[in-house]
Symmetry: C2
DNA sequence: TTGAAAGCGATACCAG
DNA sequence: CTGGTATCGCTTTCAA
């Protein structure tokens, strides 16, 4: 527990003022090469490291980014945060991680508390707050980038979930399916509403009726939720020959429901998921799904945020990136 | 972008000294109830929040914990970090996340850089640094808890990987397997060496020879690495009737190798994994594996760390927790 | 090119 | 119980 070396120690040891040490540290040029070398040598000898805290107090920024996710244990967000860290770390930024546990109230509290922790900016994933509430909290931060959520005037990176659903519907239609059901997620989230809208509009565009009886909603978009919803839907609508599932987990549940009801996949029912999680290629039959590069999403969001912080995005206001997913065709819907 | 209200503003507005505001903030008692109420009212009215940075400079602690993981995109570490956050957050602590990308050099650099970011303590997962190097870096921090790594004099929470491997070997022996191979991980990690040791000693204890020809090493402990290692091992040693795999991913790769080589699982070869990730129950056949509650590990580690920080662990030096895994029997090794 | 002095926004210590 | 003053470790501003 050695006592910290401070800038004053270095200054004394090198026979210069603290200011000169600071200049050597930040390498701002206004220092002669001779003193620079001398100071650096002392810094090295004493193993001195400037305190981020003190520096933060003086400069008003901390090179820290707040990352708010519903649940880091969810691979979707874990990948995003890995992508964000990979981009932020080389730029000297660290991520302060917060889990909302999918609770909007907690999300609002976290966004507020980050303020006093003095982060330079915030990456916010899949916010479920109302526009008004979100706008208010966002306005308190110097820079914010939303992931899978949009808000006027705020930068964002979103997977084009509308397109992801449309791609799958088109694929099923091409393979001759005509009664396509959907296992939907919550409409409270950006992804949930967009995926359902993609389904509806694609059918309508193809001149097919959008039958509410073909829409089931998963209580929770996981394997169990997908199983229950699929089971109910398939029993009520035996003519269904294709299924658009909210995500790969729900689709996995649907596979089980099909097996139990004796419906062959893909012969009787073609099943499609979304997200292309590890699981998708490992279940039997492997899932046709849509994929967006999640680490790339995290990196893109971090890049936008750093741009705002560096001021290199000056003037261009906010930017919104839309990541187009791609269709991955496997055995469950060839 | 309203200008921040500082403690001075509150003091002026309330007609008291900054010190009194500070006392109201920290509620240390030494303040009359009347002034307390008055100050709190002003704080509320101005929507004042103390700056964590300034506070950190004065108190020398930040209520931030550094969390160093090989890869947050790996479910194992994502779960641990979720568990740690769930415990740390209510106590007012935040997690600063760092990925080492499985690179020991980067790990050392991160441990060093956290120091200047002034975290109060560090949770370090699966360190691959040498004892000397690790001890040196650890000594620079006020408090450190290691996860899946031990070091004399440092608190730790470890899954009993030795036991996890032994449980599986015993299970295979009970079911009549006699030529048991192993897909090992890197010996550089605690888990890697312990799992391999569990395999060796269990065989020896059962009076069976430990044949080096039955040991294959995965270049990377993922599906591809497991596949490659299993393929090589099974081709060289066709008599193998049981397989202890480093983790569930490697075991999943082994399943594919078996399928390609025409070895039936579990009839010809019983396959076991470790960690019980989501995937384990979803592949065909479902994997027999060992499981430890990962969120509980993260929470336990955070609890130890907070104990050290609060001083409530005073005197008792360091503590080491060992989490016993349990055997989960599924179709791949009944 | 260098240094002295004044913050940044809080807490700690000591008087009263 | 309350207030003045020094302090935390660094950057910024202004002179020299």
């Amino acid at each position: 527990m050695s006592f910290r070396v401070s800038i004053a120690d270095v200054a004394r040891e090198a026979g210069v003022s603290r200011q000169t040490v600071s200049r050597a540290l930040n390498n701002k040029g206004e220092i002669s090469d001779a003193t620079l070398q001398r100071v650096l040598a002392v810094i090295d000898r004493l193993d001195y490291r400037p305190s981020t805290i003190a520096r933060g107090l003086a400069t008003r920024h901390t090179r820290t980014i707040g990352l708010i996710v519903p649940d880091i244990a969810n691979a979707f967000f874990a990948d995003i945060s890995r992508g964000a860290d990979d981009l932020a770390h080389p730029a000297g930024y660290s991520l302060l991680l917060r889990n909302t546990a999918e609770d909007p109230e907690r999300e609002a509290e976290l966004l507020g508390s980050l303020e006093q922790r003095a982060v330079d900016g915030v990456l916010l994933c899949s916010s479920r707050l109302s526009d008004e509430c979100l706008a208010d909290l966002v306005s308190r931060h110097e820079a914010v980038v939303l992931i899978n959520r949009t808000l006027p005037g705020v930068s964002s990176v979103c997977v084009d979930d509308f397109c992801g659903a449309a791609l799958r519907v088109a694929h099923l239609l091409r393979s001759g399916r005509r009664r396509i059901g959907v296992l939907s997620g919550t409409r409270m989230s950006h992804s949930g509403s967009e995926r359902e809208r993609g389904y509806r509009e694609s059918l309508a565009e193809a001149g097919l009726p959008v039958d509410p009886a073909l829409i089931a909603r998963c209580a929770v978009p996981d394997i169990e939720g997908g199983y229950a919803a699929a089971r109910g839907l398939l029993e009520a609508q035996p003519a269904i020959d294709g299924l658009i599932c909210y995500n790969d987990l729900a689709a996995t549940g649907a596979l089980r429901a099909c097996a139990e009801l004796g419906r062959r996949v893909p012969d009787d029912v073609a099943v499609t998921g979304a997200d292309d999680i590890l699981l998708a290629r490992l279940v039997t039959p492997a899932l046709t799904t849509v994929r967006a590069d999640r680490q790339a999403i995290g990196a893109a969001a971090a890049r936008l945020l750093l741009g705002q912080l560096d001021g290199s995005a000056n003037g261009c206001g906010c930017q919104s990136l839309v990541i187009e997913p791609e269709l991955v065709i496997r055995a469950s819907a060839p």
